[in-house]
Assembly symmetry: C2
Homo-oligomer: 236 residues x 2
């Protein structure tokens, strides 16, 4: 028999409900009441457990990001494998895509991201893997790897991040089995081509570029904490 009082269970429920609510409506649009109702928990418990709506949001992000990056253990796929793996991973978790998207829209340019450390380290590993692949001839020399990485994610994420565009372009929902099949096939063709050597370029001198220095380190800015303003400064 379940005990009547069980804080851990309550926390879990809240977290689950909050994930759904925040993915659906973002930080500003989410309603504490809605979360509480969804979790079948008293409204007050949100604040008892997490202090504030924003704290709860951050906790959700933190968890989601670590869960997700754990999925991308270092693995040396070829380019096609990497792209397909990203697509599968993304297509399987729309909440994640939406959280990234809310983040994109409501994060000020200089603001520190939730889980930034881990995310940076994940990316530098991914870039390292691409570099190895490039060294092995699996990726053409003239492709900028950071741009490539960004584009892999773009190809994987975009249809789910912009479902309305997907529907306009293809007539399908990005979550439908039919679309997924189509997309997988397309991504396979694309990656096969990306792996090919470049056709002769007219300007052969243009290829050389300054070697990619590692990611710019953002100084650890420890700004005093006033999270007072709900409305974050955002690109204006």
């Amino acid at each position: 028999m379940e005990p009547v009082r069980d804080l851990a269970r309550t926390r879990d429920r809240i977290l689950k409900a909050a994930l759904a609510e925040f993915a659906a409506h973002g930080l500003a649009g989410a309603r504490c009441n809605a979360i509480a109702r969804r979790a079948r928990v008293n409204h007050r418990m949100l604040f008892y457990c997490f202090g504030s709506k924003e704290n709860l949001y951050r906790e959700i992000l933190r968890r989601k990001f670590t869960e997700r990056t754990a999925l991308f253990e270092r693995r040396d796929d070829d380019l096609a494998g990497t792209i397909l793996r990203w697509y599968e991973a993304v297509a399987g978790d729309q909440d994640w895509v939406r959280l990234l998207e809310w983040e994109a829209l409501s994060t000020a340019p200089a603001q520190k991201l939730v889980g930034e450390r881990e995310r940076r380290s994940y990316i530098s590993e991914a870039l390292e893997a691409l570099r190895r692949s490039q060294a092995n001839g699996g990726i053409p020399r003239d492709l900028n790897l950071a741009q490539l990485h960004l584009s892999i994610i773009a190809l994987a994420v975009f249809p789910l991040a912009f479902p309305q565009m997907t529907r306009l372009a293809t007539g399908l929902s990005p979550t439908s089995a039919r679309f997924r099949r189509q997309r997988l096939r397309f991504l396979r063709s694309v990656s096969a081509r990306l792996q090919m050597k470049s056709p002769e370029r007219s300007r052969s001198g243009a290829v050389r570029e300054k070697p990619r220095t590692a990611l710019a380190k953002t100084g650890s800015r420890r700004l005093s904490n006033p999270i007072r303003t709900m409305r974050a400064e955002v690109a204006e």
Copy 2:
């Protein structure tokens, strides 16, 4: 001397301020007060001119969409031209990207889009152009054109739609001149490759197979399996 009372001017000011505010915060996050302040206009005038916040929002979208699609007059570029043109168009108007993104996040799957008619007709024209290009041999036969169209937009839009990812991957802001140069060069390489004929593909049915089979085939080195979770989902 400017007249003291000028409704047209007031409307314009409101529209301009509203565009900025809605692009920054979305419909739900935008504040009527903020719009009024930014427009240096009495709060009441929003409702006098547009009836409601949502009406105003719709008006903004309507205008922006028609303005934008006008930019994409029919023009038969080759693939590279199309991609680059999209990128330039997108990189030059971040508000537009953000409006699309807010729309993506807050539109229900079945909901009718603002300006849907024009957008559909634009897309079918774009697809038609791609088809012509494909007929001319400018685009390989095996590429699904709707998927290609979607991917062109993805490659153009993504860095601006997810600036935090861009910053993580490249260390640059997607609006910086440096990034834009890098991106242009990258997109040129990519489109050159997309125009190439496919490498001979083993026709042995791998395409219809489960992804892991196809994946294992593409690599030159030993590969591990992609993530398993293609949850069967009742289609459409």
